[in-house]
């Protein structure tokens, strides 16, 4: 008969505060956090950017010391016996923390030694993990030459070498393509059976729903903890799928978002997903409202707000750049190819993009998206094929076309040690805007992107969301008719 023994929690936070000194200001990353994990569960850690997720995980891994309060691992206070306790945990940092110049096997060997595994034990464990992660055939490959998903799997394997009792993962699936993401999840799920307690932060709402428990952080405080149902159940009867016969999804979304009583409206596969307030909302004419079951994202929005309560100056939502027939093609690609040496990175691609369209490029890591993108922006020259952007042949006059495009890179290319205003002034100058024109352009984006309050703040010290706004603002200073977002 299985007896219920009172187990000590693998991880407990008691009144933990964590302050950081950032220049002259002290930032409170965690503010009096109390938290306890249930053994053997997968707990998802969610929250907006800057909520304190990474700080929480680093505190649990013993990499940071709390300013106030205590962190307990398996009932023992962390600051007293860090190294012993670290034998019980596996930790995977947000950034790939392995040696890129060592091979997969050499990294595994190093971490086996660091975890104190005997050679025999290490070999068996490594075999199991190589099988689990399907990295077996890549043992001799340098870690730096692995794809993003494979790197994450190797990182996970290294964290799992000693079969940790507590596994701490900081956004293990971010920037990973869907296939690798699914594989990572299969590995994490398989740990449940082994009795490992997992704490993982994530930016994906669908991953939250697959966790046993969710910890929702906001501004360094615990907003709510519970299983996924406890988050979504209160929203029953307030979620709808809305369809419209004529309106395009984007326009429909805008109109719904601005309707009183609607908390959130977002585009999904079959229509617009709407979360209403407690009061029922009456559908407009020609709209079909179908009740659906709430998802975690709804709960997230309900608890934290949609983040953009009517802050965006949208153009009249009824603009009818409809069905494309009227709109001309602004990007035309035909038989586009790119070779790097003998390697064909892009194989004879043909597509076109019409004015006012949002056009997505999807693909796994290394599929050729970025290469295609760089050719479209005139940063790389194609090996073969035709490429016209805004009516200009990119092979002949790419600089002429470049003046008509805006480009925002994944890692925003801002000057971190310049202020918001200085960044704007620099980019305006870089786009050749002068005098009154420049002043007008800067004033326009400052207003449109609500950057005025941040004028003197250095870009490095901005919250992520504001940084993103600034990056967009910089790319839109010269009012390009085409915008590239990588």
């Amino acid at each position: 008969m299985a007896t219920e023994t009172p187990t000590t929690s693998p991880l407990r936070f008691a009144g933990v505060r964590k302050r950081f000194q950032r220049g002259k200001d002290a930032v409170l990353a965690l503010d009096g956090l109390n938290l306890e994990l249930t053994p053997g569960q997968v707990t998802g850690l969610l929250g907006p950017d800057g909520a304190g997720k990474t700080t929480l995980i680093r505190l649990a891994a013993g990499l940071l010391r709390p300013s106030e309060g205590k962190v307990f691992l398996f009932g023992q206070e962390l600051s007293t016996g860090t190294t012993d306790l670290q034998e019980k945990i596996g930790y995977m940092p947000q950034r790939f923390g392995l040696y890129e110049d060592l091979t997969v096997q050499e990294n595994l060997d190093l971490y086996s030694d660091l975890q104190g595994l005997a050679p025999e034990q290490a070999r068996n464990r490594q075999q199991d993990l190589l099988k689990l992660t399907a990295l077996g055939p890549f043992g001799k490959r340098r870690a730096g030459a692995l794809s993003g998903g494979m790197k994450q799997k190797l990182g996970l394997a290294c964290a799992l070498l000693r079969a940790p009792q507590l596994l701490l993962l900081d956004e293990p699936t971010v920037g990973v393509d869907p296939i690798a993401r699914r594989e990572l999840w299969e590995i994490i799920q398989s740990l449940r059976g082994a009795g490992t307690t997992v704490l993982m932060s994530t930016a994906y709402f669908d991953e939250a729903e697959r966790c046993d428990a969710i910890v929702l952080l906001h501004e360094g405080k615990l907003l709510r903890q519970g299983n996924p149902q406890s988050f979504t159940d209160p929203l029953r009867g307030r979620c709808f799928l809305v369809r419209h016969h004529e309106m395009r999804r984007r326009a429909l979304r805008e109109s719904l978002q601005q309707r009183p009583g609607v908390r959130d409206a977002r585009i999904v596969a079959d229509g617009i997903r709407v979360l209403t307030g407690p009061e029922p909302v009456t559908p407009a004419a020609d709209e079909q409202w179908e009740p659906i079951s709430p998802a975690f994202e709804d709960a997230f929005v309900e608890l934290l707000g949609s983040g953009t309560t009517a802050t965006v100056n949208t153009a009249p939502t009824t603009t009818t750049i409809t069905d494309g027939k009227a709109a001309e093609a602004v990007v035309e690609v035909e038989g586009l190819r790119k070779f790097f040496g003998h390697f064909e990175a892009v194989k004879s691609s043909t597509f076109s993009v019409r004015r006012g369209e949002i056009f997505g490029l999807l693909g796994a890591n290394g599929a050729g998206k970025t290469t295609t993108f760089r050719m479209l922006c005139g940063l790389l020259s194609p090996s073969a094929g035709t490429l016209r952007v805004a009516g200009v042949d990119m092979r002949r006059a790419s600089s002429a076309a470049r003046a008509r495009i805006g480009y925002v890179a994944q890692k925003f290319a801002l000057y971190g040690n310049l202020s918001v205003d200085q960044n704007l002034a620099f980019f305006a100058a870089a786009y050749g805007l002068r005098g009154k024109q420049r002043a007008a352009a800067i004033a326009r984006v400052r207003e449109e992107f609500q950057l005025a309050p941040y004028g003197p703040v250095n870009a490095d010290n901005l919250p992520l969301g504001i940084k993103q706004r600034l990056a967009l603002a910089c790319a839109l200073l010269h009012e390009p008719p085409i915008l590239f977002l990588d």
Binding site: F20, R58, A61, G62, L63, L64, R65, T82, T83, D84, Q86, E87, I89, Y91, M92, P93, R95, F96, G97, L98, Y99, E100, D101, L102, E106, D109, L110, Y111, S112, D113, L114, Q115, G116, G155, C158, L168
Partner: protein, 371 residues
């Protein structure tokens, strides 16, 4: 301390060194390059200094003096018809100095056995200028003396100096530059390379992952110290071998003492490198700091090139905190003079104290934490 963990860390470090061309470059190519540069190229001796000679009124006496200059090993005199042309040559750096024998030269000589000559040296390169001036003085005195002897009555000079040069009789600057260079090379490997590789671990996020493992801080530090100790000693042995066999610099002291003193100095350099990387966690800043606080002082303030007693007093005081000063002193003694215990012991003691200080501070400052 766990030997398996330490072994794993050391093996990792060696694998990285083997695969990182920049580490090999700093540890082996740079020393060889510096040795060749100082062994063959740079010489602080003045030899064949191009010299303009202007003779206002050629006589038997002037040609005797110019002949003396021509025979000198140190000068390559060239006659110029006028002072103006000689000055132009000096401006264009075609010559490094001018000797001007005025029209009254012969008359003065014949009257009173002595005369004055005009000497102009290009002071842009102060070091060279001083040497050229000194040599000219010597040649002039020498010539006057010989003339006096030939005339049968000795020249009255206040002090009759008789020089005897010990330890480096040929006065080859190479013989003291090359041993001193070993200190510079070991600074590069010990401090600069170590600071860079630790900063790289912070930069790439590998340090964060390392710190979440059960490895102790002492193991992580030793995992860096040991491999770079061997790299540094390798660089030292390479330099000594080149010095002795290629540049024929004598090694008069004991090799064992050389190894011991090198170990002490390397520990100081490694301690400084590790300390720098615990302050600056990115490669660029760590590299800058390492060059400014370790490499440049080792070059300028160690007595390797510039003679410490001839520095201004304030600077002389500062040289006492430059570890390379003590090591250069040991090196120059061991190579050129032999086992001079009074020098070796005191300087070794200074190195030992500095090694304890830097390694101690590093160990105290390093925590297995990010904040």
């Amino acid at each position: 301390m766990n030997s398996r963990r330490l072994r794993g860390l050391i093996r990792k470090e060696f694998l990285q060194i083997l695969r990182d061309p920049s580490a090999i470059a700093i540890a082996f190519f740079l020393p060889v390059f510096l040795l060749f540069l100082f062994g063959y190229g740079v010489s602080l001796d003045a030899r064949h200094i191009p010299l303009a000679v202007v003779v206002d009124q050629p006589t038997a006496e002037t040609s005797a003096f110019v002949g003396g200059l021509q025979q000198s090993f140190y000068f390559a005199p060239k006659l110029f018809p006028s002072m103006q042309q000689a000055q132009a040559a000096l401006m264009e750096r075609r010559v490094d100095g001018i000797v001007w024998l005025r029209s009254n030269f012969s008359r003065q000589i014949l009257q009173g056995n002595t005369a004055s000559i005009g000497v102009f040296v290009n002071g842009v390169d102060a070091n060279n200028a001083r040497i050229a001036e000194g040599y000219l003085q010597g040649v002039w005195q020498n010539w006057l003396q010989q003339r006096a002897l030939a005339a049968g009555h000795p020249l009255i000079v206040p002090v009759d100096g008789k020089d005897r040069i010990w330890f480096n009789p040929a006065l080859r600057s190479r013989d003291y530059l090359v041993p001193g260079l070993i200190a510079v090379i070991m600074t590069l490997i010990g401090a600069l390379l170590t600071a860079l590789v630790v900063a790289r671990e912070w930069e790439r996020g590998t340090m964060e992952a390392l710190m979440a493992t059960p490895a102790q801080m002492a193991e992580i530090l030793l995992g860096k110290l040991i491999p770079y100790y061997f790299m540094g000693m390798g660089g030292m042995l390479l330099s000594v071998a080149l010095a002795v066999w290629l540049f024929a610099v004598p090694l008069r002291g004991s090799f064992a003492i050389l190894l011991l003193a090198s170990t002490l100095f390397l520990l100081v350099a490694l301690g400084m490198g590790l300390l720098i990387s615990s302050v600056a966690r990115n490669q660029f800043v760590a590299g800058q700091i390492a060059i400014i606080v370790t490499f440049l002082p080792a070059f300028i303030l160690s007595g390797f090139i510039f003679y410490i007693p001839s520095m201004p007093t304030a600077i002389q005081v500062i040289t006492h905190i430059v570890a390379a000063r003590y090591f250069v002193s040991i090196l120059q003694t061991l190579f050129l003079a032999g086992n001079v215990w009074s020098i070796i012991l005191w300087n070794s003691l200074a190195l030992l104290l500095m090694a304890i200080f830097f390694l101690g501070v590093t160990l105290r400052r390093s925590h297995k934490r990010l904040d």
